[in-house]
């Protein structure tokens, strides 16, 4: 199967690999997937206390090229966004941007889930209720 140029670019030059201090109150961590499924994604955001804007985002992913590219792209998109705007990131935006084939759509779904899990982790640390995600992935 041929990967798109953007997937290859993210795979070869992943943006924002790394680890943030998950104990920090300003950091939210999302860990999704499972080793036996062949995909594990960890996505972290760091929120600026004063502005409420995501000032840093990092990822580490165990998975195929599309999974790596989806999470790398997600961190790019997260930086500079407010929490509210970050909640709006849709997996199909990732599919479109990376030209993922149908068998790789689950990689984008994982990335969206990781974003939401990280945001909720941050919210809970701030004493806020987690946002329910009622969106159905087809």
């Amino acid at each position: 199967m041929a990967y798109s140029e953007k997937v290859i670019d993210h795979y070869q030059n992943p943006r924002n690999i790394g680890t943030l201090n998950k104990e920090s109150k300003m950091v939210g961590t999302g860990l999704v997937g499972a080793p036996e499924c062949g995909d594990v994604m960890r996505l972290q955001i760091e929120v600026d206390d004063a502005t409420g804007i995501i000032k840093d985002a990092k990822f580490k992913t165990f998975g195929c090229g599309s999974a790596i590219a989806s999470s790398s792209l997600a961190t790019e998109w997260l930086k500079g966004k407010t929490i509210e705007a970050a909640m709006e990131i849709d997996n199909m935006d990732i599919v479109e941007e990376l030209a993922l084939p149908p068998v790789k759509i689950h990689c984008s779904v994982l990335a969206e889930d990781a974003i939401k899990m990280a945001i909720n982790d941050y919210r809970v640390k701030q004493g806020l209720a987690p946002i329910e995600d009622n969106k159905k992935h087809y």
């Binding site: 199967m1 990967y3 795979y11 992943p14 690999i17 680890t19 860990l31 999704v32 997937g33 499972a34 080793p35 036996e36 499924c37 062949g38 995909d39 594990v40 994604m41 960890r42 990822f59 580490k60 992913t61 165990f62 998975g63 195929c64 090229g65 999974a67 790596i68 068998v103 689950h106 779904v109 994982l110 889930d113 899990m117």
Partner: protein, 403 residues
């Protein structure tokens, strides 16, 4: 060096130029139908097929009359398994095989079950070898066939064929082996090995695709299989269809070359394979899959823990290898062969199969070693599992948000 470097010789081999040279005249100059009895075109083709049949027979120690040409090993497996079931159904309906067989065998066995037969699927040990006591325990008075592959396509493990055939013989059961990966790589002798039926194919031994054979024993005992392809009664009535003369000529030549060069080639390949394996095992948390004492000389299957196979293959795009992970399929199933060995899903997902071949060079192995090392290190740097492992976290204790 030409990139990508081909290290997937278990999938298929490039044709040896000598094989191609032998085949070429049979496409246009000597194009006759080997079944045409009335003119020289037919006689020439028949003569060429007879000669190839002898070359093939010589390699495995049988007479030329015992070779049934087919379209490949998949067809040979189907003919052996379904053909025995139909031919000997009156004597029993039970067969025994192993969970690590090729799909061609497993699916033919499934078909036998659909037709009313019963099949026992033995599980191998962690190293891929079966327990002979399991085999003996599975035999019933209804058992008509034991079908167990000679050398495994994914891990290269070689079963104790002589012991298995002795058990079959003692119990009056026919023994079929899928020797697709084995013939032409190590010495196979159907008499010494006690084999009644054996499938193999040309394209795994530097011959053309689209031609293979089923060895069907004619003496002690005389074995017959019910044809699965009906028509003109070619191949002693067991496989109808106009013979693929150029393919068969190529198959014969490939067998002749293998017979002459196999001994030296096996040593050369095993030295290269061992070097590749030793170097790759210097990578932390890398493991060989399958028994390393009883193994085909050209195969290495290695798991690199905490990196995912498909991602790894993308990072090793300058070498052509095969991954135990079939992540491209919607099911995300890792290799059933590796799973049968009891490997965790994550290890099965993290494996690469290296298949060396006649045209593999030392220089290519040097490159492959560095290439794989670089890719594994790069992927581990971005693997959350590797980070957890390094932090001393037991991954089994984590509740995964499964998808």
């Amino acid at each position: 060096m030409n990139f990508p470097i081909y290290l997937d010789n278990n999938a298929t081999t490039p044709m040896d130029p000598r094989v191609l040279d032998a085949m070429l005249p049979y496409f246009n100059e000597k194009f006759g139908n080997a079944a045409s009895r009335n003119h020289s075109f037919g006689w020439n083709a028949e003569e060429a097929v007879d000669y190839a049949r002898e070359q093939v027979g010589r390699l495995i120690g049988c007479t030329s009359k015992e070779i049934i040409f087919t379209s490949g090993a998949t067809e040979a497996n189907n003919l052996a398994i379904k053909g025995v079931y139909e031919m000997y159904g009156s004597q029993g309906n039970h067969m025994i095989t192993v969970t690590t067989e090729h799909k061609a065998t497993l699916d033919a066995c499934k078909k036998v079950e659909k037709m009313g037969g019963e099949v026992t699927y033995l599980s191998p040990n962690e190293d891929g070898l079966i327990n002979l006591s399991d085999l003996e325990a599975a035999i019933t008075d209804k058992t008509i066939l034991i079908t167990i592959m000679y050398g495994n396509n994914e891990i290269g493990v070689i079963q104790d064929i002589k012991a298995i055939s002795a058990i079959a013989k003692k119990n009056g059961i026919l023994f079929h082996t899928d020797a697709t990966q084995t013939v032409g790589k190590i010495p196979v002798d159907v008499i010494a090995d006690g084999i009644d039926l054996m499938s193999f194919t040309a394209h795994k031994m530097y011959g053309p695709k689209g031609v293979g054979a089923l060895y069907v024993r004619r003496k002690n005992p005389r074995v017959k299989v019910t044809s699965q392809m009906d028509g003109g009664g070619h191949e002693r009535g067991m496989r109808s269809g106009t013979l693929n003369v150029p393919g068969i000529v190529g198959f014969g030549k490939a067998c002749e070359i293998a017979q002459n060069e196999m001994a030296e080639e096996a040593i050369r390949l095993s030295v290269m394979r061992d070097r590749l394996e030793k170097e790759l095992l210097t990578i932390e948390e890398a493991y060989v899959n399958g028994n390393t004492q009883h193994r085909l000389p050209h195969v290495a299957n290695i798991s690199f823990k905490f990196v995912e196979g498909e991602g790894l293959m993308m990072g090793t795009k300058d070498i052509a290898v095969s991954s135990g992970s079939a992540c491209t399929s919607a099911s995300l199933e890792p290799s059933y062969v590796l799973k049968s060995l009891g490997l965790d899903d994550e290890l099965a997902h993290s494996s690469l199969r290296f298949g060396l071949g006649r045209f593999t060079t030392d220089e290519e192995i040097d490159f492959a070693i560095e290439h794989v090392k670089t890719a594994v290190n790069k992927l581990r740097d971005m693997s959350p599992l590797w980070e957890m492992f390094k932090d001393g976290i037991d991954l089994k204790t984590i509740e995964w948000a499964e998808h």
